[in-house]
Symmetry: C2
Subunit: 241 residues, 2 copies
DNA sequence: ACAAAAGTGTTCGTCGTACACCCATGG
DNA sequence: CCATGGGTGTACGACGAACACTTTTGT
């Protein structure tokens, strides 16, 4: 077995988390102090990644990045693009960083994204932080573009594949489902029409259970049945928003 | 500048061509004669590929593969997946081939597809041949899966992005457009309803021109206006089939 | 009793669908 | 004049969009 890392090839993961306030991305701090701690030469954020190994599949690399950060064992992983520009490293900062790590200027990265409810991830490490997708900090390399691309891909897939259910709790209320769509698509949806459309979908099954909120009318809970969904032959939109 | 090839990393291209009889894939013959010409040890087909270079973008690699085969200079290129399984090479044949070429067992390929009217490509080399997607020959490596994946991706994108117009002539009749959709999606479409829907789209512009067919009523020609399409802000389906 | 979020129905217009015949041309 | 593919219209039902008030609970 060959344990060599593949030069010039890395795997990167965009980690999305959905909270009641919208969609977030998990980023890792990148700092480089050449002189004194108070004056970092580089102090920005990146998405997480690692170099690809010849004895690991790309999916295994992506999974292990995700697991090591989140400690989660169930997740939905989507490969959405591979970046291979010769000049992906453009700024002095990025060159400096690359040299300081003894890396070759990377020429290629296979990019994945992961989605889940933001609250499922307990951050223990100060190097990681959630940022709203609408207010990203300064990012290294071409990671801004990678995150944008991931979001675009998510928007497309969410209409056609049952990814939305990975962004919310297993048991969810219809309003939570609506807010999930609104957050990802960045639109507003009429609540009455949305409910009617959702209830037509046989793979969204009501439970005899309610969630008692904080001093409010309790809300009915639903689950997504992947079994039923897989048996639906004529694939339509997930919800016809 | 670094001219080294990237070990273990290649770029592969699925080339689709649309003819009146349906969708085709262009394949390259793979033969290996260890003893006598009449008894090839390997005699099957593959999609075209080359190893990635560190001084070339992936897109440049894909383009040069496509251009060298087809001599075309205008085309639509779609990156759809990157395959990185450690065990992509499974059969004795594939191992034998890899060794005979002095290659390492490849671990990764970035896959693209190209679409255009089949008649635009004049084949000069006997090593290349068109096969209907519904009747593929024996294929090397995991190229069957790659072609299947490409077709799936094409089916999805064709509803949402204006790729269909790259599969047909610049000036086209509505019936040609309909047949293009039918071939790619593998469905039948009602002609009258299809026309009504197409004519609603402002980016499909009628010409004051007809094509005189072979002893038939001449048919009106249309073009796709990418300019108009790009100005349409509320993106809908290309045609609401 | 009130604050807060959950939940509910109707009307109208548009769009999708099903369906069968006439038209223009070249030979 | 006929064979061939090009081109057209209507009726019906389903679905999407717009829109405001009642219900249930905890405090």
């Amino acid at each position: 077995m060959d344990f060599r890392k593949l030069d010039n090839v890395s795997v990167n993961c965009v980690i999305f988390g959905l909270g009641p306030e919208g969609l977030y991305v998990l980023l890792q701090k990148r700092t480089l102090n050449m002189f004194r701690k108070e004056y970092p030469v580089i102090d920005d954020w990146v998405i997480t990644g690692e170099r690809a190994f010849t004895n690991k599949t790309l999916e295994e690399s992506a999974n292990s990045i995700f697991k090591s950060i989140t400690n989660l064992n169930e997740f939905n992983r989507v490969q959405f693009h591979t970046y291979g520009n010769t000049s992906r490293i453009k700024t002095d900062k990025d060159l400096l960083w690359t040299k300081s790590k003894g890396l070759k200027a990377q020429s290629m990265t296979i990019a994945y994204y992961f989605v889940q409810p933001k609250k499922n991830i307990q951050l223990t490490d100060d190097d990681f932080k959630w940022f709203p997708v609408k207010a990203l900090p300064e990012l290294g390399f071409d990671h801004k573009k990678i995150i944008d691309d991931a979001q675009e891909d998510l928007k497309q897939k969410i209409m056609v594949e049952p990814i939305i259910f990975d962004l919310i709790s297993h048991k969810f209320t219809l309003n939570e489902l609506q807010i999930a769509f609104e957050s990802v698509l960045n639109i507003e949806i009429d609540n009455r029409n949305f409910r009617k459309k959702v209830l037509k979908k046989i793979y969204i099954v009501p439970l005899n259970e309610t969630r008692k909120g904080n001093a409010k009318k309790p809300s009915k809970l639903y689950v997504f049945s992947r079994d039923v969904y897989n048996k639906v032959t004529e694939k339509d939109l997930i919800i016809n928003i």
